[in-house]
Symmetry: D2
């Protein structure tokens, strides 16, 4: 019964599509949400590829950033208006021919900052990490 | 006369549009190209904004990444197929209501790696940096 | 019996002290070593503190870098001469009054690059992450 | 005459040695200080080298971090107690047999954050960048 109160992917996606329509139009959705963790998927889109049919670096960054944002929802709620403060990303292997997946974990929460780590792979090959990122979301000061 | 042999923005943009149509469709273009440096512009697009009319973080990352790639062209040529190896980006201020500009400088060139720094601002306000990035492009090994 | 062939912390520390005496003089040691993972400890040293008795940022960076290097040993062996290519680090909380611990995991191994994530805490408080890092070690080309 | 009011390297070094003795014992000093910029030097120390007589990565990080801190002094004053929030560093070439130099520029100042870029080289070879870094200092909230 406690589960009924947990944030669900459908709820996140409905909010995402309604309030962030441009971000949702990229094809990203929340796949799962847990305690300080989330998984996101970018649905493969021929129109966004690079020569050689590679998924682009900026697409990977966008998915990593969004996955950590979803994971932050599990900590501070869906309407927190947290914004990315900084992120570093490493591109490890070509990503081709499939949906792109990202799992984000929140490693630290302080009053004004959420920091986490994100791993990306092509759906079906979770052991072949294609990019790895780490970054910070700034939590806005509460208004009294 | 030597200038005639230098890479020009028009040449870069023609190549970009032809070979990387998905990247060019984002609205990024090369604005200027120099010795180990380039400036790129993202033309303001209402359809890409976040609530509050903010330019998104992934849009800033995409422009930073592309600007450094253009700057790398001035060192290793336009058909080098260099790929981003890693990049870190800091988001400093909201970016709103204007074209986004990025100037990239190549700080180091070695056999297999180009490293540079990128500053971003909203056109017309070059003293208000909205994001700052630094990253590496990997130079593919030459085929004999 | 297979375990007898695995790299052990004592072996790493003996190598570290003999071949890298300046690094070993910092007070860092390998605490445990696993499959693509390692834990390292920096023994608290009054002489290295900042005002307020804080453990310094460069000390945290040094421990993070060394922990990932130890973890890389589990993949490519102890005499590989891998060198740090890049690293990003976030400082999350003050670290005070205790040994500093770092656990490093190798997230990706390719021909020329090992990438991993490192978490740091003060011994006894593993749930209070004080710094979080991610970085790449370059693997030297094999000589024929 | 206005210059008499500007912060001078001697003043920074005296403060550094008195208040941060452990950091000053590393051999770092402020070499020059300007408007949103500073240069720092690490005096070559045989005892800190790696095999092959290389200057270590953590030594480079430490110098980069300190140089940006000195540059921050020119913006927010010497007693501001700003602390590093995050930093990324790229190691580009071996650094050997000389003093290590770092020039830091402050690229952005906001209410709570100073962001800058740091270039490192071995004294006498300023065109051969050995490491490149970028990072943020957090400015403590003013007490009323």
């Amino acid at each position: 019964l406690a589960d009924e109160t947990l944030l669900q992917p459908d709820e996140i996606n409905a909010y995402f599509i309604e309030v962030f329509p441009a971000a949702a139009a990229t094809g990203v959705r929340c796949e799962s949400i847990g305690d300080r963790a989330a998984t996101a998927r970018w649905t493969f889109d021929e129109a966004q590829l690079r020569p050689g049919r590679y998924i682009s670096g900026p697409t990977m960054f966008m998915l990593a950033d969004t996955a950590l944002w979803f994971a932050a929802f599990s900590v501070i709620g869906i309407e927190s208006m947290a914004v990315t403060s900084e992120m570093s990303i490493r591109f490890l292997r070509p990503a081709q021919d499939g949906n792109l997946m990202a799992s984000a974990s929140v490693d630290s929460v302080s009053k004004r900052r959420i920091v986490g780590t994100i791993r990306l792979w092509v759906e079906g090959a979770p052991d072949r990490i294609v990019a790895l990122a780490q970054g910070s979301y700034a939590i806005p000061a509460q208004k009294a």
